[in-house]
Symmetry: D2
């Protein structure tokens, strides 16, 4: 059993220690993910590394969406991620539904198998034989510094459209309510496995978001004559894309599985979260 705590969050570390105590009582060793944990707070605990090929089978993530994304991005793309449980510490997160006060109770439910598993498909991008770690939300090809990027987007070798502008977002079902939504994309229901392509401020005013079968391969070509583009995965800039290159994006070989303990009220959660920003 592993625990991932939000970097620098005293609350997350304290919840982590409580779960270790629960584990101790039940004869279960609970180790902490090494890059997030602060040993000055939790003492000399056992640790594990997300980037190793020997992960715990189950991991509790304590923090918010940023903590979850950081952990997942450190897992090699050919390793199946552990079954996760998520406990909120800090602001509300899309993937987090256990509150701090109920952490220990739900943790016991997690150990006893009293939960529903939600699966979240992910996307990987590959270029010249190299493949990125999976994106939980989106792979984006964006312009630099307000320059116009000229792209052609295709699905399984059939051209969808060319677009000139700030770039394009290719998002998962979960990511449809993140950056892609701000860019004008639709909301994908959690029960629909699909991929959404959302153009970002295109000069071609008639372009619209497109929703694809989850098994489609999306390719994004930086057209010759374009300025350089950047590859951004879940908000992290991974590198530059020169004119002429073609990025290929498809479903990752394994989804992320998260245990949930209550009734998921997806739309209520979604609009309540958006309401936070008023």
């Amino acid at each position: 059993m592993g625990v991932v705590v939000k970097k620098g969050s005293m609350q997350a570390h304290e919840i982590g220690l409580k779960l270790r105590d629960v584990g101790d009582r039940l004869g279960l060793e609970v180790c902490f993910e090494d890059t997030g944990v602060d040993k000055k707070i939790v003492g000399n605990v056992c640790t594990f590394s997300a980037s190793s090929h020997e992960l715990p089978e189950r991991v509790v993530v304590i923090g918010g969406d940023g903590t979850l994304l950081r952990f997942l991005h450190n897992i090699p793309h050919d390793v199946k991620p552990p079954l996760l449980m998520t406990i909120r510490a800090g602001r509300r997160g899309f993937f987090f539904d256990v509150e701090p006060y109920e952490a220990e109770e739900r943790f016991v439910d997690f150990l006893r198998g009293r939960y529903t598993v939600f699966e979240y498909e992910r996307l990987v991008a590959s270029l010249n034989g190299t493949t990125t770690n999976p994106a939980l939300n989106e792979v984006a090809v964006l312009s630099y510094e307000g320059k116009v990027t000229r792209l052609t987007v295709s699905r399984d070798e059939e051209k969808i459209y060319s677009l000139d502008g700030d770039g394009v977002i290719v998002a998962t079902t979960a990511g449809s309510t993140a950056y892609a939504l701000s860019a004008g994309g639709p909301i994908l229901d959690p029960e629909l496995q699909a991929i959404v392509v959302a153009p970002l401020n295109p000069i071609q005013l008639h372009l619209r978001p497109v929703v694809l079968n989850v098994n489609s391969e999306v390719s994004v070509e930086v057209r010759s004559g374009s300025s350089e583009a950047k590859l951004v995965v879940d908000g992290n800039v991974l590198g530059s894309l020169s004119p002429g290159v073609e990025l290929r994006i498809k479903r990752a070989f394994s989804p992320v599985r998260i245990a949930r303990f209550g009734v998921e009220e997806f739309y209520e959660r979604l609009f309540t979260r958006i309401l936070q920003y008023w």
Copy 2:
């Protein structure tokens, strides 16, 4: 073998007669659908009725999207529609890819089994035990005369959102490129089976289109306090919806199957069609 011709189109009738001649040569009887055919043009041909429970196994529709919709809407909702072939006569149609000059050649391909079948899912709406004939494009609940309609839209008993405005469009994959697209909905790829919900000019500015699993049941409730709404299926007004009623929309029991003879270049066709309107 049946033939449906566009009402009042000399070109469609002439193509129909040519197909009958091809049928004669091959020993196959070709009958005309009775509500579209003009016997002053084609003479005393054999006919069939779309509303009967004894339909030909295969039908050629000659005309445009309007002709196709008219024929399909006359088929009872519990009858599986025949395998269709579509020949354009008049302006370009979304479901039409055979041109008049190649009608006879493709008709022989149709008889010999040289085609690919495309399936188009449809939607039925039911209210108080009555079910509409299936919609190929969309079921819409619209306001009357510029009044505000107050609706609540749900998926499988979970509320998505309430909206006040001109109404809501619930569209099939095929219909995603029709009225729903003008209303701000996304394009659904033909390989994605799904349902799109598009709010129509809502007062709630934060609402966005939602894409659902094709097996979802969508319900649209006209809230108490709303003015009357009207039920519109594929552009035909079927009746009024009073405050308090709840319309239930789900996948029809059978899709429409259309034989296609070339490579489908969906996006090129789509954007070329949109370009017509410049």
Copy 3:
């Protein structure tokens, strides 16, 4: 001094009676607009008619936006409307900022000249020599029953664009936050005198709202080949427009002037009002 009360609102009638009492104390006769008032509630008061050419110089409107619009629409288009004061009775209204509890105090301010005047430009539409009463929010040309309307919109004889769809909205600065906003139009700041043209769900996906100088003449032509359209002014259907006719829309000769008593926090009011709909 005149008072207009919301039809059937006991609260509005009671506020009206209080203002009449204030008038009595100050030696000022307060008369009620005749179509809204219920004499079973207020007794045998003096009355006036909005449609006469002899209006009171000052009028207090008690109710909401609907009450205000009803009163203004009954004033002939060649009569300058009186200086107005507005008191809310019922839900919040865009043009209403005096609350019921402060009605008498603000009424005295109104009589003593302690207010700021806000001017709202209006639009009139003319067709074949007939001119509508002025619109405070918008003049709309809309399709019937989900049929496609084909329009051409021009500014001072220069074509802006043709559009096929649900119609077009031509709105004032005040109206930019009403129906035009739901249709995708921008918010016009109250200090900007302008006219906004907002296409309604056009098939031509590249069309965008256009903002014009307030002195522009906008013409909307129902193109030959279109189905009939309807002319809707501030939500009231005034008639049908046949293919071939051209409606001309321009600034009315006089604005509506409303006395305001506090600091106008336009954007806070606007977004608070939108928030009501969550």
Copy 4:
């Protein structure tokens, strides 16, 4: 009389030489702007510098929008720009209506006063006492690298809204058809002097573009807690904006005046230009 030629464009240089010959015949000295001209092409001509305070009274710009912007940005913000004439060399430009073949004829018209002057208002941004050179299209505050920028936008000290996202565009009437249009802003008619504020992919889905009186002062505050933003003027990155700073944007003291020789068909030009991108 000055001439500005597009850097590296043989066609622009050749047109420039023809205009110098016309000038010679009429006894008028024509000098070339020094940063764009290539003396290997045009020989030892007289030159002038855009950044000097002694500009020619009239200048012909030969090239496209990029050439025009480059020239204008080099003029100090307290210097009134010369009356301009624009000749296209290369792709179509928004501010260019004279074609290469008619360059000499229109140049004579320019000298003889046979033209109409179009004025384009500009915007300047100031921060801590420093003011940028005027923007012809827009001042934008944008996020870095896909990070979320947190801004508050106000008009004359009244808050319009806070927004979290990719930033905000504050555009002139001319700029309303450039970047702001791709970001969802409306088209401002050339006869409307105004400022448009367009939020860029905001998390707050209810936000809409706002159109302001041209004399408004718009301020954009980078809220504490935001990541750094960048200041971009007409596509050029001018610097970084740290959390806590407030940028003030207002009308420049002088517009750009451009001589035009034909009937301006604004909307036809606009939509034809957009059509280029199909």
